[in-house]
């Protein structure tokens, strides 16, 4: 069949235009495309044929079957009676969570360390240097094991705890936090938050315009903080406190297995999540630190001198003059680091964090649908990466030099 396709594609080339470079170019491109399509077609049909021949079930119907296994972290309703599809969705959300939180902390630590690398203070400078060299030269999987197993052994066991302000508790079962319980009427608080954010944006635009026109500065940061925290708090008080906190319940009597923190009361951040987030953000931060340092050093020193000459202190010089220019150098490699972090989060399976690969792996084993599951994995990581890239490219365009 592929032979016929190629013959028809080759037909124009046999005409008199044999020596026309343009025609030959098109011809080669067509041959390549046809060959690629034929190859893809062959792979797919061959796989289907082989699966049928070996009596291996295929198709997507298994996604609706009952999963039958549990998990220790799910952001949506999930139980053993949920479907395989739901299990994979739970894993996907867990991947998103650890990637999102990881990217946040990696960026934060990375920027701090990157700037510290350029500090004039010798001690800070050396500490940052050691951090970068130490962390980025140790394989990530070992760091995950370090954070999980070494740290796990040093925190209190299940029937004990470390507490901070009697609100946050840590033991080997995880970090326990109070859980907000929303009551009827609490949606007003959400509305207040949205209004506060909108107001902050409006005020910030106004403040910028005023500064451009008159040079007068407005304490924008503190206004925004006040609005975003203050407005919901006032709403909360005015509407009669329609929310309370459910505190983790530490049981000290009764059967020994029932001692310790009660299951499903308060929020429990499982130690697998803590270890994975710590390892991912600290590891990626060491690369981000180098990117930030390089970005800042790429800004000509004359810019700093000029800013100083205008009377700007160190902080504003960095914030207003150096970093905005450095961002143009920083963003493209930063994007790769974000992508790396997201993909590296699949190492979670080593320490029992139920991410996409872990949950999908269990489904794969129960159903034996290897091709479908691996297809889902690849599609999800690919789309996450493409989305991240698209967002960062958009951000990069915004930050790029605008020629006037």
């Amino acid at each position: 069949m592929s032979v016929m396709e190629q013959d028809s594609a080759g037909a124009p080339a046999r005409a008199s235009l044999l020596n026309d470079p343009k025609v030959r170019g098109i011809f080669y491109q067509l041959v390549l495309i046809v060959a690629l399509v034929a190859f893809g077609y062959f792979i797919v049909t061959n796989t289907i044929h082989n699966l049928e021949q070996q009596n291996i079930a295929s198709g997507w119907g298994f996604l609706e079957n009952t999963a039958g296994f549990g998990t220790n972290q799910s952001l949506v309703e999930y139980s053993e009676t949920s479907s395989y599809g739901r299990a994979i969705y739970v894993g996907f959300l867990n991947t998103l969570l650890v990637a999102g939180v990881g990217i946040f902390f990696a960026t934060l630590i990375g920027f701090i360390v990157g700037i510290a690398r350029l500090s004039n203070n010798w001690v800070i400078n050396r500490i940052a240097y050691c951090y970068v060299e130490l962390v980025r030269n140790i394989p990530l999987l070992l760091q995950i094991f370090f954070w999980y197993f070494a740290v796990l052994r040093s925190i209190p066991g299940k029937r004990e705890k470390w507490s901070i302000f009697d609100t946050f508790h840590l033991n080997i079962g995880g970090l326990r936090l109070p859980k907000p319980i929303w009551e009827p009427g609490s949606f007003m608080i959400g509305i207040a938050l949205v209004i506060a954010i909108a107001a902050s944006i409006v005020v910030s635009r106004w403040a910028r315009k005023r500064q451009e026109a008159t040079g007068q500065q407005f304490p924008m940061f503190w206004t925004a903080v006040g609005l975003i925290i203050g407005l919901p708090v006032i709403t909360y008080l005015v509407t009669g406190m329609p929310m309370h906190l459910e505190h983790p319940n530490f049981v000290e009597t009764g059967p020994i297995l029932r001692q310790g923190f009660e299951l499903n009361v308060g929020i429990n951040v499982i130690p697998e999540f803590l270890a994975l987030t710590a390892a991912l953000s600290i590891y990626t931060a060491s690369f981000i630190a180098e990117i930030v340092r390089a970005g800042i050093q790429a800004v000509s020193h004359g810019q700093t001198e000029a800013a100083h000459a205008l009377g700007l202190r160190n902080g504003p010089t960095l914030r207003l003059v150096v970093i905005p220019q450095a961002m143009r150098v920083i963003i493209p490699p930063l994007t790769s680091q974000y992508l790396n972090l997201t993909k590296n989060s699949s190492l979670a399976v080593a320490i029992a964090y139920p991410d996409l690969v872990s949950m999908g792996g269990t489904v794969l084993n129960q159903t034996g649908q290897a091709i479908e599951i691996i297809g889902i994995w690849m599609a999800v990581y690919l789309s996450l990466s493409l989305l991240t890239s698209a967002f960062m490219n958009w951000y990069n365009q915004r930050m790029a030099l605008v020629e006037r």
Binding site: A35, N55, I56, E80, L257, P354, S358, G361, G368
Partner: protein
């Protein structure tokens, strides 16, 4: 140049098609390459585990060695592929291994939906629980509220979910990819309970810091018949796997051991004569030589010898025969006769 590329591409595509379409039988493949590629675990003492010299030993490994003896008369004509629970079926389906002898539970879905065949049961197991002695727990029914460490991608994960749900007990599952990490996490106190097949619990207990501080609870919550697996659709190879196991069991039943097998060749018992290839042509019927079973017993031993050497009471695992004894000794082990 285009005239060179075209035939090349088509030729390549057809070549691949030809190789996948033809496909020799597994026995022919094995004979041609001179060894059996055997899928084993990544290290489960007593079943498949490399010893201090790096040689694979264990009950499951002995089955591969027995198959190699049956085919080549040489127990060492085996190469091993350590597989995780997740990889094992794909490795067998794709032909990466010829036989999977990796403490794998025979279930209906695995037997019918994966294009695989289970060739018998070489160890009757069941899922159990291990806890620290200082918890003071004596029954699995007292495990309400416990956190449970286990492996991902195994039937144990499903059984534990069923058991806790059926008894209406809340629990937290912590599922790891590899057994070593499960043991480490349980040892660190992340979980109250470690669950897997009972044989696995005894084996993994040896890896804990203080094995004496831990106990296996009496409840067995599932049926876990473990056995060798081959690809579906190759009955010749399926027969060889099936009858290798049967030969080891029949040898035990008839009192044929690796030590007395040469004397037994002149035995008056017709069953022994048939098994050892003195009478009849049973080996040829499965595509092998007639001394196939003789070679198995000579090189590897009968089932009892393999059991005692790898998991029996005198080994660190110290597992008694129990349900794995022969049928005439109160167990489930029953092999069809060589006749």
């Amino acid at each position: 140049m285009s005239k060179k590329i075209l035939p090349l591409v088509i030729g390549a595509a057809m070549g691949v098609a030809a190789t996948t379409a033809a496909g020799a039988t597994t026995l022919e493949d094995v004979k041609a390459k001179g060894f059996i590629q055997c899928g084993v675990s990544q290290g489960l003492p007593g079943f498949s585990n490399p010893d201090s010299q790096g040689n694979w030993t264990g009950l499951d490994v002995d089955l591969c060695r027995a198959m190699a003896s049956a085919v080549f008369g040489d127990a060492t004509a085996v190469k091993y592929t350590p597989l995780s629970a997740k990889e094992r079926f794909t490795a067998l389906q794709s032909g990466e291994v010829d036989v999977l002898s990796r403490n794998t539970t025979w279930t209906m879905s695995r037997d019918t939906q994966l294009g695989l065949n289970f060739a018998g049961v070489n160890y009757y197991d069941g899922q159990g629980f291990m806890v620290r002695k200082d918890l003071g727990v004596t029954s699995a029914l007292e495990l309400s509220g416990a956190s449970v460490c286990t492996n991902t991608g195994t039937t144990t994960e499903l059984n534990v979910a069923d058991y806790f749900r059926a008894n209406n007990m809340p629990y937290e599952i912590v599922a790891f990819e590899k057994a070593d990490e499960v043991v480490a996490a349980y040892d660190a106190g992340r979980c109250d309970v470690y669950t897997t097949d009972a044989s696995g619990l005894y084996a993994q207990r040896l890896k804990l810091t203080n094995p004496g501080d831990h106990m296996v609870l009496p409840e067995i919550i599932s049926k876990e018949p473990l056995g060798p697996v081959v690809r579906q659709g190759d009955d010749e190879w399926f027969n060889i796997a099936k009858w290798t196991l049967n030969a080891m069991l029949n040898a035990e039943e008839l009192g044929v051991t690796s030590e007395n097998v040469d004397e037994m060749k002149s035995s008056d018992n017709p069953s022994v004569k048939r098994l050892l290839g003195v009478e009849g042509a049973f080996g040829e019927a499965i595509g092998l030589s007639n001394d196939w079973a003789y070679n198995i017993v000579k090189n590897v031993g009968n089932y009892e010898e393999s059991f005692n050497a790898n998991v029996g009471p005198d080994t660190p695992l110290g597992i008694s025969r129990g349900v794995n004894a022969l049928w005439n000794d109160g167990g489930f082990m029953y092999a069809p006769p060589v006749r």
